[in-house]
Structures are given as structure tokens and as C-alpha cells.
Amino acid sequence: MISVLVAGIFTLAPPTNVVVSDTPDDGGGAITIEWQLSADDAQLQRYEIYRSEDGLKYDKVGFIGRGRNAYEDETQDRTPYIYKVAAIMDTMRALSEPSTPVMSSAQWLDRNKINIIITVLLLGGMILYFIYRARRGRELYVRKISGLQAIDDAIGRATEMGKPILYCPGIGYIEDIATIASLSILGEVAKKCGQYDTKLINPHFDPIVYTVAREIVKEAYTDVGRPDAYDPDSVYFVTDSQFAYAAAVDGIMLRERPATNFLVGWFRAESLILAETGASTGAIQIAGTDQVSQLPFFVTACDYTLIGEELYAASAYISREPLLLGAIKGEDYGKIIIVGILVAASILGLLTKVPILQLFR
């Protein structure tokens, strides 16, 4: 009641010092308007933003709650605009002085992303350098990865038992790095299957991954001189519905009774559905994914698990291709850089007043 009276007697204080500018680092089409809050900000309902092209006729273009001193307006590029900001309380309106005219335009570079460019150049350059060195024929060491050592035994076991091997690439798409790593491991597994004459079952979630996998398996059989052993029905598409795929793979596990299950690739919640069903059939299970949220389930339910980067390293390790091994060396130096940044930034952040967090937005 009192505030109404006060407002009735005194006029409302308008926002002041309206500053407009082209919104930086965008694709054009926007102007940022900033102002100093009205002295009566606490009583206001909102601010309204008015725009004019000729300085005479103003149209309302937007509004924003009280306590806010900036607004981004959508504009046509290369047209000058003048702005006024109004403080609004009930039916009262207090307009600011008009701003200077301003035009919006598009920028070619988003400066907020420079840190990303630097990261990519630094780490990417490191990796490429080591690939280049590997091409020159340097011998490279890669430590043992326990899941990988098990692959041979697992395939051997299936052969002895006369049972098939199930290779499930998960529900990723061809562009997921985990799927790509999975496909190169599939190639090696298929070669072994060809050599030992073990049946391979390879059901798919994504049609494109399926297409690629078919070629890989076919070629693997040809490589080991057993094109006759390749069964075109061993690689097939099931469905692109997550749980329908899980239901179908569960069915395969129980009916075909594979001796070894590979669950390698990109997984979500179905990870444990598959891994537990597989465990109940007594199969040896080798899992691998880069999905941090699913790793706990694989680690609990499977015999061997390739954790995160181990999965990528595995595909290089298994092929022994020097170029791929070179990349691993590069990645390792990348880790040293990250650790270095962590330590250096922490020290800087603690000892100086550099706003260190701003650098890593």
C-alpha cells in the first residue's frame, strides 16, 4: 500500500546509461543492450526494451525481469538501431534516454573457443608427430593388456567345446570411436575364428555398422585363407531399438550357448542385461567400452574388461600396426601434458591472482 502511494506521488526512476553493442562471437543477428538499473528496481515488475530504426517510432521488442541489466535482441544485420529501456510498474512506465545507433554483424571466429583450438592443435600435433615417427620404423613398446591376452584362450576354448563365439558390438553408431575400435578387434577375432573353424555370431544394432562389419569379417576369413568358411548369415542386423536388441541378444546367448561372449563397443543400460545373461550360461566374457557409466557393470559381471582407453589401445596392440602404436605413444605424451597443465594451473591458481578457471571454460 505504501509503495503504491509513494509511486503515485513520485515518478518512477528510469534506467540510465543505456549502452548497446554488437553481440560478440556470434553469427550476427543480435545486439546486446546493457543499462544501469532504475533506482526503483526493487518495486519494478520488469524492464521493457524498445527499438527504433529512425529514432522517432519505437517498437517494443522484448522484456526481462527486474534486477537484470542486459538483454540480447534479435536484429537484421547491417541495419542501425536505436534502443530505449523502460522500467515498468503496474501501469507506470519510465523510459530511458535513447542509445547511440548500432549495427549487428557476423564474426568469423568465436574467441571463446580459442582454448579448444589450442588444445586440439597441441594434443593432435603430438599424436601426429609420433605417428610420423612410427612410420619411420621405430620400434615401440606397449604394455600388456590383460583382456587381450585372454582373447586367444577364449577362442581356443570355444573351438575345443565345439561352440560358437558371440561378438556383440553394442549399440553405437559407426562414428562412435568405441564402435570403430570394436570393429578392428572384430577383424582379429574373425581371423582366429577362420583359422580354428569356429562359428561366429555377430548381431547388430546399427545398419551401417552392420554393413561395415560384414566386409571386415569376410575379408578376415579371406586373409587367413578360409573364404569357404565364411557364413554370410553370421553377421546380421537385428533392430535399432535398444531393449529389443538386448532381448534378442539374450535369446541368442541362451539358445546358441556360445562359449565366449565379446561385449566390446558402445553400451548403455543394456550392458548388465547382456553381461549377466552371458554369465548365467557359463560363457567366458570379454567386455570393453569407453562408457564410464557402464564400466562398473562390466567389471562386476565379466571375466575381463577393457577399461576406457584400453579398448582403443587394444585395437592397436592386436594389429601390431606401427602407425597405430605410434598414436598410442602420442596419447601417452598427451597425458603428460594434461598432468603438467593440472599441476601448473593449480600452482598458478594458488599463488597468483590469475583467473585461471576462465581459461578452461
Binding site: Q107, I117, H204, F237, A269, T300, A301, A313, A327, I338
Partner: protein, 213 residues
């Protein structure tokens, strides 16, 4: 080569906000890639049908169920294609008060089946925990202990066992868990970066089908 060009096309819009770039990017994402995915599905369906028709011909194990699969596929596809998504197509999708448009089928067949598959997880978590959480080695013991504490900590009466239990459980989630996850993520990120570069530069070619050529 194609991969290289489109790879660059993928990187650029992230850094350059200019509309000329953003429009090309939007066109790629909204039209080209989605349309390509639609065509890829035809490939997949071809494969699925072949496997099951083969099975029926050979009268392989459980061949009767292949009939079920093909029949439900064909029927739902016909209802969906000609009946429209919400039953607005040319095919009638309602007999009396009984609707059978594709959306109703989806809600009453796919959704409950999916939800039940998802719910199976509670059973699988129990059996996996029983089997694997044994104090065989240091690692297994840590796994067991952390799971144990957190399971007790989130329970409604966790604070009655000890008032510190819920906050200790939360601490495990916030500190060791986050540290472990971040460490893995850095490795994963480097691996992804390396693989992506290798693909764009044509060093990694396994995705083409076979390592050769």
C-alpha cells in the same frame, strides 16, 4: 578424401559462428545425415529379413518364431505407413472403440516390453553383486566395500546405523568416484582425439571394411 572434406566440415562450425558456415552445417545435420540414416535402415532390414527367411526355409532351430517376427514387422509397418503416425492415414486404424494405430501399438507393446527389459536389471544387479562382490583380491575388496557403503548410505534408515553414513557415501561418490572417472575420461578423450585424427587423415581404415587398400 571424402572423409577428410566432411571431417573438416564437422570441425569448423564449432569454432566459426558466421551464418554462412552455420547454415551449411544445419543443412548437413538436418537433411543429408538424417536422409542417409533412413536409407541405411533399408540395408539393415534386408539383412534381418534374409536371415529369418533363410531360417524358415531351412526349418532351423526355432524357425516358427521367425514367422512371428516377420509377421509383426509387416503388419506394424503397414499400419504405420498407411495408417499414419496418429491414425490419420488412409488405412482405418480403429474398430469401434478399439484403436490400433501405430502410436497405440508403440505405447502398449514397445514401451512395456522395453520397460520390463529395463526392470530386469534389478534382478541382474542382485545376482551380479552376489557372484562378483567377494573379497578375493585388493581390487575386488575395494569394489565390494564401496558398493556396500553406498548401498547402505542411500537407504532411508542409513542415518540410523551411523549419522555419518549418508555423508560418507556421498563423499565416496564425490571424491574417489569423480577422480577415477575423470582419469578414465582424460584417457578416453585422448584416444578419441587420436582415432578421429587418424580417420580423417586416412590412417585408420578398418571402418572401410578390412584393413587393406
Amino acid at each position: 578424401m571424402l572423409v577428410f572434406v566432411f571431417g573438416i566440415l564437422g570441425i569448423i562450425p564449432f569454432i566459426i559462428p558466421h551464418p554462412a558456415v552455420q547454415n551449411v552445417d544445419e543443412y548437413l545435420r538436418n537433411n543429408l545425415l538424417k536422409i542417409l540414416a533412413a536409407f541405411a535402415l533399408i540395408l539393415g532390414l534386408g539383412s534381418l529379413l534374409r536371415v529369418h527367411i533363410d531360417k524358415m526355409k531351412r526349418k532351423g532351430q526355432n524357425w516358427q518364431y521367425s514367422w512371428v517376427l516377420i509377421l509383426t514387422f509387416v503388419v506394424s509397418a503397414i499400419i504405420g505407413l498407411f495408417g499414419g503416425v496418429n491414425g490419420t492415414g488412409i488405412l482405418p486404424t480403429r474398430i469401434g472403440s478399439f484403436p490400433f494405430d501405430i502410436w497405440t501399438i508403440y505405447l502398449n507393446v514397445e514401451v512395456p516390453l522395453g520397460a520390463t527389459m529395463f526392470a530386469l536389471l534389478s534382478f541382474f544387479m542382485a545376482s551380479a553383486a552376489y557372484r562378483a562382490f567377494r573379497a578375493r583380491s585388493t581390487e575386488a575388496t575395494l569394489l565390494l566395500a564401496a558398493a556396500f557403503v553406498v548401498m547402505l548410505g542411500v537407504l532411508p534408515f542409513g542415518n540410523r546405523i551411523s549419522p555419518h553414513l549418508p555423508s560418507f557415501a556421498q563423499w565416496i561418490m564425490d571424491v574417489p568416484n569423480v577422480a577415477g572417472q575423470r582419469g578414465i575420461l582424460f584417457g578416453v578423450a585422448l584416444g578419441m582425439l587420436a582415432t578421429a585424427l587418424k580417420i580423417i587423415l586416412g590412417i585408420e581404415r578398418s571402418w572401410l571394411g578390412g584393413g587393406g587398400e
